[in-house]
């Protein structure tokens, strides 16, 4: 008579359950995980092959990058989720976008004291390209948008506001609701806006318009020109196009965090 320990009984029960499942044709999760491990190795090989042939294409061709990203999104894969992901390790997509993220943060930080943390996508693009130098890979606006979307995970208020056919990139946690956004869009054409213009275009009451403009002033996103002919003008430095040609001065640069 052999002893039946608890151990042996438990194993026997498990084997019974497994057999039952297999009978019903269900594959167990642990078996599938083992299967996934194998398939992953195969996939890795395919990806390596793809990378050896086309890695350059991704680096050089922004249109190809767009296609690549859209295809990934369609099948439910985020190639930029982790630097440890296959896509990043083998295709190098990760480093491209993560480095871009660093450059975006630095540009926004350097200009924050001037524009309050709001910058047009165009100006950001221009400055990032300048910072990268002549021999670096080309970067498209689509690339910037994707890098910014990833930066949102770090909670520092990175966001994009649609304005006049393009975007304003926000890099501070200033609370901007629909009212603020609409006023920004109104100001986009001339770089400034007045209370009357808001009342005429948006049909708001004076108090609502002033409340919004005060908030923008407080957050450092707008400057008040009280000496303008007629009524005071609220200017948005983020929308100044002349500023495109100005470089960041050494004092401004030292305010950037290392």
């Amino acid at each position: 008579m052999h002893r039946r320990g608890v151990g042996a009984g438990a194993i026997a029960k498990k084997k019974l359950a497994e057999a039952k499942y297999k009978e019903r044709g269900t594959v167990l999760a642990e078996d599938q995980i083992a299967q996934m491990s194998k398939q992953l190795e195969t996939f890795k090989t395919h990806l390596e092959e793809f990378a050896s042939k086309h890695k350059q294409e991704i680096r050089k061709n922004s249109q190809f990058r767009v296609q690549f990203q859209e295809m990934c999104a369609t099948i439910g894969v985020d190639p930029l989720a982790s630097g440890k992901g296959f896509w990043s390790e083998m295709l190098g997509v990760g480093d491209f976008y993560y480095e871009l993220g660093v450059q975006i943060i630095e540009v926004c930080l350097a200009l924050k004291h001037r524009n309050g943390g709001l910058i047009t996508l165009e100006e950001l693009h221009h400055r990032v390209l300048k910072g990268r130098g002549k021999f670096a890979q080309d970067v498209s606006q689509d690339d910037l948008v994707r890098a910014i979307k990833k930066l949102k995970a770090m909670g520092n208020g990175f966001g994009m506001i649609p304005v006049g056919g393009s975007y304003l990139v926000q890099s501070v946690p200033a609370e901007l609701n629909m009212d603020h956004t609409v006023v920004l869009q109104l100001a986009e054409k001339k770089g400034y806006v007045t209370v009357s213009e808001i009342r005429d275009s948006l049909k708001w009451e004076r108090e609502r318009a002033c409340h919004v403009l005060d908030h923008l002033l407080k957050e450092g996103l707008a400057w008040l020109d009280s000496q303008a002919a007629g009524e005071p003008q609220y200017w948005l430095p983020a929308l100044f196009s002349e500023m495109l040609s100005q470089d960041v001065t050494p004092e401004e640069a030292s305010q950037m965090t290392p």
Binding site: L28, E30, M36, S37, L40, H46, Y98, I105, K150
Partner: protein
């Protein structure tokens, strides 16, 4: 435009028409030619242009006169053009519409489009140079003497040919790349579906998954970039990678944090760490997931989220009470402070200075004076 000669427009023996396009206006260099809109014809030997209304008006130029050509994109109110650079006029040239010209190039302006196909065919003809192999009965004036013209043409046209081959090669590469990409995505899709099936089974408890297997599954998801569908918390029980990363950060950030008053915004950390790494950079999500593990790994750092949404890494040793007490001291000392002033005082960034003042205010130690001149904090005497 002075390279053109009058012609009857009839094709010679051995000369074949390749393509023709209506709605084309000629330009003598930058100036519009004194001709109306017409039809341009490309043959194996020549470029011919005929006035659309007056068919008698017909001129041509041999392809051997062409040094090189390029596309000029359309603009607002401007049609797309092909710019054709030409050899100097041969001495024995037949009469044409222009006696002389200051330009050595012409343009074809495609008012009714067709420039893409025309350009393609022109490229083919210029590459194949079929006129060299099949001489026509009527002598067509070539360059400044057959030999001199040809050697010069070979040099530049040779370069042009190489560029064209490279362009074709690139186009081929791109379409091959897209095809390979589609195939790759098909395989990736299979992985996604498999992982969803596994996730569902784990949820329905079909099978006996060990802790080990769960961790392995999560690392597979990380490798593929698939969002974890099982656990609603994607942090906490992170993968081995995040655990390692958290420990590395614990070491790396001690000194920088000390220098910055014990606190750094996560975006600062991101820049610092990635600049140091140089390659194999961290994604923003990697950083966040690693920082979320500080507490469970008992590292002396913490990830903290302020009400405003700002995320910071702070040293465990810098307690909340200490920070608030020192903020109160500083403000009382100066009577009142703005975030900018406080930042300068402590050597913090303005962002973090503001967060500390807000925190002290939340705890009831400071109160604010909010005006368009800025946000200023005073000791709370209420």
């Amino acid at each position: 435009m002075d390279r053109f000669v009058w012609t009857n427009g009839l094709l010679e023996m051995n000369e074949t028409l390749v393509i023709q396009q209506r709605g084309v206006r000629l330009y003598d260099g930058e100036d519009k030619a004194k001709l109306d809109v017409g039809i341009v014809l490309l043959s194996t030997h020549r470029l011919v242009w005929r006035d659309q209304k007056n068919h008698e008006c017909c001129i041509c130029i041999p392809l051997s006169q062409v040094i090189f050509f390029e596309e000029q994109a359309a603009g607002i109110g401007k049609s797309a053009k092909i710019v054709i650079h030409l050899h100097p006029c041969p001495e024995n040239k037949e009469p044409g519409p222009y006696q002389k010209s200051k330009y050595s190039y012409i343009k074809l302006s495609f008012k009714e489009h067709g420039q893409i196909e025309f350009y393609r065919r022109l490229t083919e003809e210029m590459t194949q140079k079929r006129w060299e192999n099949t001489p026509v009965s009527q002598p067509i004036p070539t360059g400044t003497g057959p030999k001199a013209g040809r050697t010069r043409a070979v040099g530049i046209v040779g370069i042009e040919r190489k560029l064209e081959e490279k362009r074709k090669e690139t186009d081929k590469n791109i379409s091959e790349a897209f095809e390979d990409l589609s195939k790759l995505m098909e395989k990736a899709k299979e992985m996604v579906e498999l992982s969803r099936s596994i996730a569902n089974k784990i949820k329905d408890k079909q099978g006996d998954i060990t802790e080990d297997e769960t961790i392995r599954f999560k690392s597979y998801l990380l490798s593929m970039g698939i969002a974890n569908p099982v656990t609603r918390e994607t942090h906490g029980s992170g993968t081995q990678y995040h655990i390692q990363l958290a420990k590395q950060l614990g070491d790396m950030l001690q000194a920088p944090l000390e220098e910055r008053g014990g606190m750094m915004a996560l975006t600062e950390v991101y820049c610092l760490v990635n600049r140091a790494r140089g390659m194999e950079l961290l994604s923003p999500e990697d950083l966040v997931n690693a920082c979320k593990m500080f507490e469970s790994l008992k590292l002396p750092l913490r990830l903290r989220v302020f009400d405003s949404g700002v995320m910071v890494v702070q040293l465990q040793s810098h307690s909340e009470e200490e920070m608030i007490a020192s903020a109160l001291d500083n403000v009382s000392d100066k009577g009142s402070l703005t975030a900018e002033e406080f930042a300068k005082l402590l050597g913090l960034t303005v962002l973090l200075a503001k967060e500390r003042l807000l925190l002290a205010e939340k705890m009831g130690h400071l109160c604010r004076d909010d005006s368009v001149e800025g946000l200023r904090f005073y000791p709370n005497l209420f």
